[in-house]
């Protein structure tokens, strides 16, 4: 694929950072890596392009692969026919039409990734016909990389991202396989949508909980209330997001989708699902159902789950009550 020139619809921080990133030498350090990641965020909203992204993940049983067409123009990006973003608005297509899931800017950006990770930049492979720089993410200097991000040296877009297991093999990744300028002149945002965006939550009262920090360096940066009294806590480590959803009630295990795995995390029994968007963990503790969703590594998700309440008391009381009643079957 020939090198293409991207249509820029704006100048600003992204361009300035892009110029800095363009001068990144091989093996550059954290400052250059952070600048590349900042630039990528800007570039995704400013560049005009069309491409095809391959998403691969391992669901705990087998590897899976899917393709998603991506378009971006005039600040609107569209992923297939299912997801649209425009500014801070995020819409998904539901069974009955479009749903607005988010619609306001966020001031708190969260911690810097350099506070937790050892970041470095090196020349990367060609991705979708374009030269890249690769940001290697390590938990500590000298250890194996846990994640790689491939950044287009020209546009600044992230063209690939992969999370790596202990053997260095990707277990969740996405990568552009084609990319070109000249997307449609304008992408329309849905004219009508049902709003399901959360609102900022005030004080969190028992039985809900909102720890200020979780797991390996995740800081609470947003507390929201969703419809049906669902509390949504959003944590960030500067590179990944981790959401904790809390719902009052008792987990109806039989109503949960199949395909999940029941695992022990630090001696705690939970159900997990691995998806292309990340890991999902569900359990119940003292009358609250917790669902953790994160695009972070499995190790980070496990550590965060370990910091949240996990009591079997209610389940045990119920079990004892069942036993008391069942005693009379034998007399």
């Amino acid at each position: 694929m020939s090198v293409v020139t991207f249509g820029r619809i704006g100048l600003g921080l992204g361009v300035v950072l892009g110029a800095l990133a363009g001068a990144v030498p091989a093996g550059a350090g954290e400052g250059a890596a952070v600048a590349l990641l900042e630039r990528a965020r800007e570039a995704a909203a400013m560049e005009t392009f069309a491409g095809l992204v391959v998403v691969e993940w391992h669901d705990g049983r087998r590897s899976r692969r899917s393709e998603v067409p991506v378009q971006s123009a005039a600040g609107v990006f569209r992923f297939g026919d299912e997801v649209v973003g425009s500014g801070a608005r995020r819409l998904v297509r539901g069974p009955d039409g479009w749903l607005t899931l988010w619609r306001h800017d966020v001031v708190a950006l969260g911690p810097s990734p350099a506070a937790k990770y050892d970041l470095s930049v090196a020349p990367g492979p060609v991705v979708a016909g374009r030269a890249t720089e690769v940001v290697e993410v390590r938990v500590a200097s000298g250890t194996a990389a846990v994640e790689r991000l491939y950044v287009d040296g020209d546009s600044g877009l992230i063209l690939g991202r992969e999370l790596l297991d202990a053997r260095g093999r990707p277990y969740r990744s996405l990568r552009f396989v084609s990319l070109s300028a000249g997307a449609p002149a304008a992408l329309a945002t849905p004219a009508r949508s049902e709003v399901e965006a959360p609102v900022e939550a005030g004080r969190v009262n028992a039985p809900y909980r909102a720890p200020a920090t979780l797991g390996n360096g995740y800081r609470l940066v947003g507390t929201y209330e969703k419809p049906h009294h669902v509390l949504h806590l959003f944590y960030s480590d500067g590179l990944h997001g981790l959401s904790v959803f809390e719902q009052r009630g008792h987990l109806s295990a039989s109503a949960m989708p199949a395909g999940g795995r029941r695992v022990e995390l630090d001696g705690r029994s939970v159900r997990t699902w691995s998806t292309p968007a990340g890991e999902t963990v569900v359990w119940e503790s003292d009358g609250v159902v917790y669902t953790v969703v994160s695009d972070a590594s499995r190790a980070d998700v496990a550590a965060a789950v370990g910091d949240l309440p996990h009591s079997q008391r209610a389940k045990r009381v119920r079990r004892v009550a069942e036993v008391v009643v069942s005693l009379f079957r034998w007399r």
């Binding site: 973003g85 899931l101 992230i158 959401s243 959803f245 109806s252 009358g287 159902v289 695009d295 008391v324």
Partner: protein, 138 residues
């Protein structure tokens, strides 16, 4: 650990109601699973404690008020058992949780997470995965 936790199977284990194959499978699981062994101890302990309770004779007229006429036709010992069962069930009901059952809608929560994460993170790598048609349970 072999397979899922035993949960309700523990009662059947204690009652010796499992089929031979199921009992062998449960035994293998118990050998490896400390959580289920602990749960088994709890259930067995609760049963022993209840069985150790003294038998109380209900006051005159108690059963007449409690049970329907058909039940009164049962033998006295059976009636006492039914009364105790009803009382135990009532007591148990006091301990049973009253909050609603919850089944989180995982696809919707994944989308909510990605929507929020994409506002402050990289929108491409956050949103592209939720455009993948994933059916939970497959």
């Amino acid at each position: 650990m072999n397979g899922p936790h035993l949960e309700e199977t523990l009662s059947a284990w204690l009652d010796d109601e499992l089929a031979p194959a199921a009992r062998r499978e449960a035994a293998r699981h118990l050998e490896d699973c400390a959580a289920c062994r602990s749960e088994l101890d709890l259930v067995a302990g609760a049963r022993a404690a209840v069985r150790a309770l003294p038998v109380r004779v209900p006051p005159a007229g108690f059963l007449d008020d409690l049970l329907p006429p058909a039940a009164l036709a049962l033998r006295p010992r059976r009636r006492a058992v039914w009364a105790l069962a009803a009382a135990a069930a009532s007591a148990a009901a006091l301990f049973l949780p009253r909050e609603p059952s919850v089944a989180p809608v995982l696809p919707a929560l994944l989308e909510s997470h990605a929507a929020r994460a994409s506002v402050t993170g990289d929108p491409l790598s956050q949103l592209a995965p939720i455009a993948v048609p994933v059916s939970f349970g497959q």
